[in-house]
């Protein structure tokens, strides 16, 4: 069991008061708070060895290279990768998916080919495939959810065909909270078409539950550092080594080359050929410290804690009259994110009233406008939880919602 009181002491922002009141942070799906150990690891790089990686023949540069690569190894272990060279540093999930778009989809997909994605995707895992359709004539198929926000696996054999080149799917919806059974989906997809690659958007899974890229049996996995206690500006694309060896980089420049001549260039080895220019060194080190923190707590424990908080929040929120929860009511198959609407009050106004008491929630489409349109709902309010969320936070949310209802009564 996670000792929340102890955990919260690790987060300096939770010790501070804003306008004399403590912070009730319920927007971890947008970005998580950072523990002291992550901040310290990055500070240490900047104050003690802030040299460039790979190039310097001097101690602090070698130390920077060692820290940068050691973080890659720990991140690889954290996601169950066989080999840390399969871990590519990017700017975040969006860039990771764009890498697959530019380096794999564009050279490999012809107009008669099909790409499948779901209606519950974040724009990061939707817009690239729409672009492939609009500009390259690839057929885009969308896998719709049931009204409860679940994917029906029995529909798969109608969706995946001999022509399907890629299934791009999220592991966890950032609006519905739905946890998709990736392992089972991949098994069925590979049976229907062994040539179909699977890309998993793990931005909402890697921070909140144990994941294993090998067990999933997928080809690409993308996630961001800042949603899992790490700094902003860095993320990961994991890819199967044999795939990464064959595809070309889409960013060019320093570090990603072995030799450059007037008429030809030989690219560097995997993963370095995908990491052009001076990387976000402190960011990689910070993400390394974040996975250390999460590994020490245990991802099973993190999931258990969030499940408990989610069940409690579902119960608390569903007792508020006029409040409608989007998606499943069962904490077993959903992660710690609850989107909702309050009758007669626009989500913006809900969030504004909550902010008076430092209760932070997100409102709008949460970068998933196609899902909102499919479900025929306007903007929603969204509260999301993490390892530092307490039942007191949920009480503060409920109190704030009642206050908003009073103002707009």
């Amino acid at each position: 069991m996670i000792d929340t009181r102890k955990v919260r002491n690790d987060f300096p922002i939770l010790q501070k008061l804003i306008d004399g009141k403590p912070l009730v942070y319920l927007d971890s799906t947008a970005t998580s708070l950072k523990p002291q150990s992550v901040i310290d690891a990055m500070d240490e790089y900047y104050t003690e060895y802030s040299a460039n990686v790979f190039r310097g023949i001097y101690k602090i540069s070698e130390r920077a290279t060692e820290a940068y690569e050691s973080a890659r190894e720990r991140i690889g272990r954290f996601i169950g990768a066989h080999d840390s060279s399969e871990v590519i540093y990017t700017r975040g999930t969006d860039e990771s998916i764009s890498l697959v778009y530019y380096s794999w989809v564009l050279p490999h997909c012809k107009p008669q080919d099909e790409i499948v994605t779901t209606i519950m995707e974040h724009h990061a895992n939707f817009v690239p495939w729409q672009q492939a359709k609009l500009h390259h004539g690839v057929t885009l198929k969308i896998w719709y959810t049931t009204p409860e926000g679940q994917l029906d696996l029995n529909n798969l054999d109608k969706i995946i065909t001999r022509r399907t080149k890629l299934l791009a799917i999220t592991a966890v919806s950032n609006v519905l909270g739905t946890i998709n059974p990736i392992e089972e989906i991949v098994k069925r997809v590979k049976k229907l078409n062994p040539q179909c690659l699977v890309l998993v958007d793990a931005a909402q899974a890697a921070p909140h539950m144990p994941i294993s890229v090998q067990t999933w049996g997928v080809d690409f996995v993308a996630f961001s550092s800042h949603k899992m206690l790490g700094p902003t500006g860095i993320g990961v694309l994991w890819g199967k080594n044999e795939l990464l060896e064959t595809i070309e980089p889409f960013n060019f420049g320093g570090d990603m080359i072995k030799e450059v001549h007037e008429t030809a260039t030989i690219f560097n080895d995997v993963p370095h050929k995908f990491e052009a220019g001076t990387p976000h060194i402190a960011g990689a080190i910070g993400l390394g410290a974040a996975v250390d923190y999460l590994s020490k707590l245990g991802m099973d424990e993190v999931r258990e804690h969030e499940k408990e908080i989610t069940a409690y929040a579902l119960k608390t929120l569903s007792s508020i009259p006029g409040l409608t929860i989007v998606g499943s009511q069962n904490a077993e198959n959903r992660s710690g994110v609850i989107a909702f609407t309050v009758k007669g009050i626009h989500p913006h106004d809900v969030a504004q009233v909550l902010d008076e008491d430092n209760v932070c929630i997100r409102v709008g489409f949460h970068c998933a406008q196609p899902l909102h349109e499919y479900l025929k709902i306007g903007a929603t309010a969204r509260a999301s939880f993490y390892l530092y969320t307490t039942k007191e936070d949920i009480h503060a949310l409920a109190k704030g919602l009642e206050k908003a209802q009073k103002i707009f009564a």
């Binding site: 626009h346 989500p347 913006h348 106004d349 504004q352 009233v353 008076e356 409102v363 709008g364 489409f365 406008q369 909102h372 306007g378 903007a379 103002i407 707009f408």
Partner: protein, 125 residues
């Protein structure tokens, strides 16, 4: 904080000039993609270049709806020139409340739409 002043809540709950005009001189709309708000403004202009009638419709938060409602009252019978001179600062003054940066867009969306409609009637020189 006094964001939801009585007058704002009143305009939100009982919007003035809400609906459609059957003989509008121009119609304009705008959509705020981050929150899904949509404001539609319809204006009818008389021969003297003054706003004879105005209606707004759409969906949005209390701030954008109240701002639209108050704005329609403010500009009725005013000249197109004076409408084009209204600034976002005037909107803040009209609402009489302090807004955080993320809410300023909500407050100024109706003005943006109205000025779009005016430009449609009388293109900028």
């Amino acid at each position: 904080m006094d964001l939801y002043r009585e007058v704002i809540l009143d305009h939100y709950k009982h919007p003035r000039n809400f609906g459609k005009l059957h003989d509008a001189s121009a119609t304009a709309q705008a959509y705020n993609a981050t929150c899904g708000d949509r404001i539609i403004m319809e204006v009818k202009v008389n021969t003297k270049g003054k706003i004879e009638d105005i209606r707004f419709s759409g969906v949005g938060c209390a701030i954008s709806q109240a701002s639209a409602s108050m704005l329609t009252e403010k500009v009725k019978h005013k000249s197109l020139d004076s409408v084009m001179k209204i600034s976002s600062r005037d909107i803040m003054k009209m609402l009489g409340t302090t807004l955080t940066p993320s809410r300023i867009k909500c407050a100024t969306l109706p003005l943006e739409v109205l000025q779009k409609a005016v430009i449609a009637i009388r293109p900028l020189k």
